[in-house]
């Protein structure tokens, strides 16, 4: 392991972008950061709100049409190497909003799954996932960051 990989393994900045789910996943991600019980920083992951600083983008929610452009843009602003973690059923498959529609047939408001819009490296299922699942999802993408050129 070169110095590069060690440095990348030891300092990871994660950014959360919430694209219009129900808040549940969002709060659980915040819980993984702000609840001392889960404490994401012990895994060398630091929370940031600046895409220029981030390495890992945590996406929650079902991507409503107003959030498509900001999501793409934020993703493009993150310097390489970067990884995306999709958290929650909304981000993975659109959840009830996309799949349990009444007479409307197709819900055109929802652009989920997230990997339609940006490439996703790890998926965390659940509605809502537990914070430990989210932590594991973030830890899973670290090898990808380390191996990147």
């Amino acid at each position: 392991m070169g110095l590069k990989a060690i440095a990348r393994k030891n300092a990871i900045h994660a950014m959360l972008i919430y694209t219009g789910g129900c808040n549940g996943c969002d709060i659980e991600v915040v819980n993984a950061v702000y609840s001392p019980r889960y404490d994401i920083e012990q895994y060398r992951v630091l929370l940031t709100w600046n895409p220029r600083e981030a390495d890992v983008l945590i996406v929650t929610g079902c991507v409503t049409w107003q959030m498509v452009e900001p999501l793409k843009k934020i993703y493009s602003l993150i310097p390489e190497p970067k990884a995306v973690v999709a958290v929650g059923a909304c981000a993975i498959n659109g959840n009830v909003y996309k799949n349990m529609v009444g007479e409307i047939g197709v819900n055109e408001e929802i652009f989920a799954p997230v990997d339609n819009i940006i490439p996703v490296d790890a998926k965390v299922p659940g509605c809502a996932p537990r914070p430990e699942d989210i932590l594991m999802g973030v830890v899973k993408v670290i090898p990808k960051l380390m191996e990147a050129p």
Partner: protein, 389 residues
């Protein structure tokens, strides 16, 4: 009144550390002072009212529960209450008690999230960590009872899911945790209220007078902190068996809105104790009902942020027609848009956070038609303009 001088606009959101949820605030400022502001809450629009059109009523609660992950139980319960009151479906006493229990547990969790968020916005990281730590108690309880920390999916038509039935062990665990929590929580509240630096940020900022609270239809803790005594729980038959007080403060500033919630948590604890003490025996779900046509029925509920309305009709096959939701945040936000004028921007963000905004539920569209503005919900929009803008 002299004309306001507006120097410039500073807009933040929808991706922003202080908001978390996607919404956009445009502050119109003069130097540091906010002269006007506009909040755009359209980013989380998922068209829930449309999705519900034509869905079997048993499934409604699974979508309404997902209106919001903070007060999932409130929405699920209230959408069930509509059909229960419309079709006179009886709910066993025990089920009712457990619904109240889950609701009060979630109310505490929600208020603690509010503290966490408010302190984060004020910039006090340590208090935010402490709030989230206290909250873990209730998240755990929710996971024990309902199977998930966020979406317990407890109510169903005619009662609750039997998975959420309380056993004696669970009752003991709840009581223990609650007692333990109360001790720590008292310390926490004392510590916060004694902190001069935090209080200097909160006291006297974001003042909402009683008249304004009434004029802008503020609801829930926001109006109760401005001296309006209004709590839907006092009118609900579900809450008849329980003894609790409505906390009303008159200061109307950010500090009052925090203290109001802090005190309300003690009342919630009181209700939880009563549930555990008086929990009646019996079945938890009544499966003996038939769905038939139902006229337009409305149910009101005291959600954690104020009054919540759900209403719909059922057609002859038991499918939902014309679902309407009115959540507390839009009216509270309108009040906050007013309350933050005249403060520094940094304080204004705190003021907006102090009504505990969470906008995933409250998108409405204002239609401007030949000079007249009209607020419409999405069902009305589809009726009038078709599916896609």
């Amino acid at each position: 009144m002299s004309k306001k001088i507006i120097e410039k606009e500073i807009s933040i959101g929808p991706v922003h550390p202080a908001l978390i949820e996607p919404y956009r605030i445009r502050f119109f400022v003069n130097d540091e002072i906010v002269e006007d502001c506009e909040i755009n809450i359209n980013m989380a629009y998922r068209g829930i009212e449309r999705l519900l059109e034509g869905l079997p009523v048993e499934k409604a609660l699974l979508i309404t529960e997902r209106i919001c992950g903070i007060c999932s139980n409130v929405h699920a319960w209230n959408s069930v209450r509509v059909v229960e009151s419309g079709l006179k479906i009886e709910v066993p006493e025990r089920a009712n008690y457990i619904r109240v229990l889950i609701n009060e547990i979630q109310r505490i969790a929600s208020h603690l999230i509010f503290f966490g968020h408010a302190f984060e916005v004020i910039g006090h990281e340590t208090f935010a960590y402490r709030s989230f730590l206290l909250r873990e108690v209730f998240m755990d309880l929710m996971a024990y009872i309902g199977g998930n920390r966020v979406m317990p999916s407890v109510p169903v038509i005619g009662g609750i899911r039997p998975r959420a039935d309380l056993t004696d062990t669970l009752k003991r665990v709840i009581l223990e945790r609650v007692n333990d929590f109360e001790k720590k929580y008292k310390e926490y509240v004392d510590r916060i209220l004694a902190d001069p630096m935090v209080m200097s940020r909160l006291t006297g900022v974001g003042y909402l007078s009683k008249e304004d609270a009434i004029r802008y239809h503020a609801v829930g803790p926001t109006c109760r902190a401005s001296g309006v005594n209004y709590d839907v729980r006092t009118l609900m038959h579900e809450y008849k068996p329980f003894d609790f007080e409505v906390i009303v403060l008159t200061e109307g500033d950010n500090r009052a809105r925090i203290v109001q919630r802090a005190l309300e948590i003690f009342e919630c604890l009181k209700i939880i104790r009563q549930v555990i003490k008086n929990l009646p025996e019996g079945p938890v779900v009544n499966r003996n009902w038939t769905i038939r046509e139902m006229p337009f029925t409305t149910a009101y509920f005291e959600a954690f942020r104020g009054e919540l309305m759900h209403s719909y009709a059922l057609d002859s096959q038991g499918l939902i027609r014309n679902y309407k939701v009115r959540t507390p945040t839009p009216t509270n936000l309108a009040a906050m848009e007013k309350a933050c004028i005249g403060d520094h921007i940094t304080d204004a963000v705190v003021t907006i956070a102090s009504c505990d905004p969470c906008l995933t539920c409250c998108t409405r569209i204002e239609v401007v038609e030949s000079g007249k503005t009209k607020v419409m919900s999405d069902i009305e929009i589809v009726r009038k303009y078709g599916w896609r803008r």
